[in-house]
Amino acid sequence: MKGEIAIQREHPTPASEPVDTLSATRPFLRVQGLKKYFRLRGGSFGLAGAYVQAVDGVSFVVATGETLGVVGESGCGKSTTARLLMRLIEPDEGQITLQDRNVGGHNGMSLRTLRRQVQLVFQDSYASLNPRHTMAEEVGFGLIAQGIKRAEARRRANEVLELVGLEPAIFADRYPHELSGGQRQRVNVARALALSPQLLLLDEAVSSLDKSVEAQVLNLLIEIKNRLNLTYVFISHDLNVVRFISDRVLVMYLGKVVETGPVEKVYTAPGHPYTRALIASRLSMDPSRRVEAAPVAGDLPSPINPPSGCRFRTRCPFAESVCSLREPPLEAFGDDPAHSAACHALIPGSGHSRAPAPGGEPSTRANGAPK
């Protein structure tokens, strides 16, 4: 762990990195081997000096114009990933490239440029809006910080407030406490849009909203994405919302990517046992077809001393000795080369009893998925 070495330029591409045909064409964002460990301080439980392995070797790409959904249970590293992408915190290792330019480092893209292109929208809370700022001031703040004149900032603020469906004549001079939760979240989106970014990182952006208002904000996000040709990284613990809005998804577990692929593939033919459990844990919305058995027992182990090998093995019904010995690489399986999972049971020749025979046809490999 060397905090000062923010980026390792010569980071070798792992041989197992999945070929992502969709994103390989025009990756807007490329993340390779991202890692962030947090050192525990104080530590009332005798863990001072231990590390939380929040994000551990995360790689993915986001194509221009797509929505990449990021799902996983609390503490799996979603927000840390978002904060690393924004450089609100420095990675221990890993490389981020935005439109083929390195972010950070000596001759990489400056933070200023990065934040003009990438903006983050947090979960709604009063905390994310300054209580002493009017909405126009809040939205224009980032512009003024970028050196734009006051009058021009105000004009642009009104423009984006209008864009998110808040009539400037009514809302521009209001304070946060005078707005509903849904309106505040629209302001958060407006503030992010003010700088005309190309990529929005939406971290649980609709999670605290009531369903009737969540639908309004989801519609808004879809509409402005189309209108402004934006690219989204949509982070949420809500599996249904992620399926609804995403083109591709990334499933995380304890700081690792366990599965990634086109959204319908991942939801209808999940490969990783964790993804399967997660998908099966969704509630049915049909009282005559209730869930009858828990898809997986127990809860998440601590990210401080995560299990060796596959981090899911302590809860996995298919765990075998190879699972504790070696970490499964993220590899394509099944019939879609863009659909990958990190599970020994899917990898030919891994030594797992359910693994497909080495050299088998991709179509027969698909049958190797644990059932």
Binding site: S74, E214, L239, R282, L283, M285
Partner: protein, 335 residues
């Protein structure tokens, strides 16, 4: 609810009967009406879900039933629990029924669990206090309870402190504590809302199983339609402090009557949601300090007519056991 007038209910009298329940908060010349007239009956073995968005009055309704609200609250109406008139109880008797006849579980288990004592000690303590048994009997019950809620290695966990437990185990420990004196009524306030998907389903399954085994009645507050579908027998949809629709859960989901319920179903993203656009309900819930006249949903309702703002619609019977508070419903059904 019309349930009480159904023949089967005559032979099986309700455990809980609530009529005209109101709750208001008074402060500095201000009065906020959080609950504005709620009626229902609940029998042993059944689960009623209070479903609604934040601020609709679910928690206040539930806490009113055992008068567990700050002193600024004024509670009106009649609450009869297992033959006891709750409104007439003094503090001492109230404390006695909380934990024995009725107990409560919360979203955040640390609300119920004391960080200073072991889980086993806390469970034993309520049993000793309420039932006057010995400490060793209390401890024995604590072990039984942890087994019942399926805490792995229960004997070892007796001596754990709540902060040493994972989120899911803490939730189980809280349930064990709540059920230790075999209450007839369990009040559950969003107990799975803060849990991750894979843990939430475990706790819902556990609560369903415990109810089958122990036969208590449950009031389960949630804002999540999916949760209601997993746990409810009947559901009462709340809006601005009132029931706007009641019925058997399957019927309410399949044939919602009130425009708010219809809107809520349409705006909820679920596993079968089509890609594309959702149909949200416009606007936001009303400010309880500044309520619109008549139907509280009228300002957001696409089907509202002038008469909707004249007076608050009655909770009209659609058919036995099924009610909706909308003039469109009361007009089309013979009363």
């Amino acid at each position: 609810m019309a349930e009480s007038s159904m023949p089967s209910e005559k032979t099986n009298p309700p455990l809980l009967s609530v009529r005209g329940l109101t709750a208001a908060f008074r402060s500095e010349g201000m009065s906020l009406d959080a609950v504005n007239g709620v009626d229902f009956d609940l029998t042993l073995g059944k689960t009623l879900c209070l479903l609604g968005e934040s601020g609709s009055g679910k928690t206040v309704t539930m806490r009113s039933l055992i008068r567990l609200l700050p002193p600024t609250a004024r509670i009106g109406g009649r609450i009869e629990l297992d033959g006891v008139d709750v409104q007439s109880l003094d503090d001492e008797h109230l404390r006695a029924i909380r934990g024995t006849k009725v107990s409560m579980i919360f979203q955040e288990p640390m609300t119920a669990l004391d960080p200073v004592f072991t889980v086993g000690h806390q469970i034993a303590e309520v049993v000793v206090w309420h039932e006057g048994v010995s400490w060793s009997a209390g401890r024995k019950r604590a072990l039984e309870m942890l087994d019942l809620v399926q805490v792995p290695s229960a004997r070892r966990r007796l001596d754990s402190y709540s902060h040493e437990l994972s989120g899911g185990l803490r939730q189980r420990a809280m349930i064990a504590l709540a059920l230790a004196c075999r209450p007839k009524l369990l009040l559950a306030d969003e107990p799975t809302t803060a849990l991750d998907a894979t843990v939430q389903i475990q706790i819902l399954l556990l609560l369903r199983e415990l109810q089958r085994e122990l036969g208590m009645a449950t009031i389960f507050v949630t804002h999540d339609l999916g949760v209601a579908c997993e746990i409810a027998d009947r559901v009462a949809v709340m809006y601005a402090g009132r029931f706007v629709e009641t019925g058997e859960i399957g019927e309410v989901i399949k044939t919602p009557q009130h425009p708010y319920t219809i809107g809520l179903l349409r705006s909820t993203v679920h596993a079968g949601s089509e890609k594309g656009r959702l149909t949200p309900i416009p606007g936001a819930p009303p400010d309880l300090l500044n309520m619109p006249p008549g139907c509280a949903f009228a300002p957001r309702c696409s089907r509202a007519v002038g008469a909707c703002s004249d007076h608050v619609p009655e909770l009209a019977q659609v058919k036995p056991g099924r009610e909706a508070r909308c003039i469109l419903v009361s007009e089309t059904t013979p009363s």
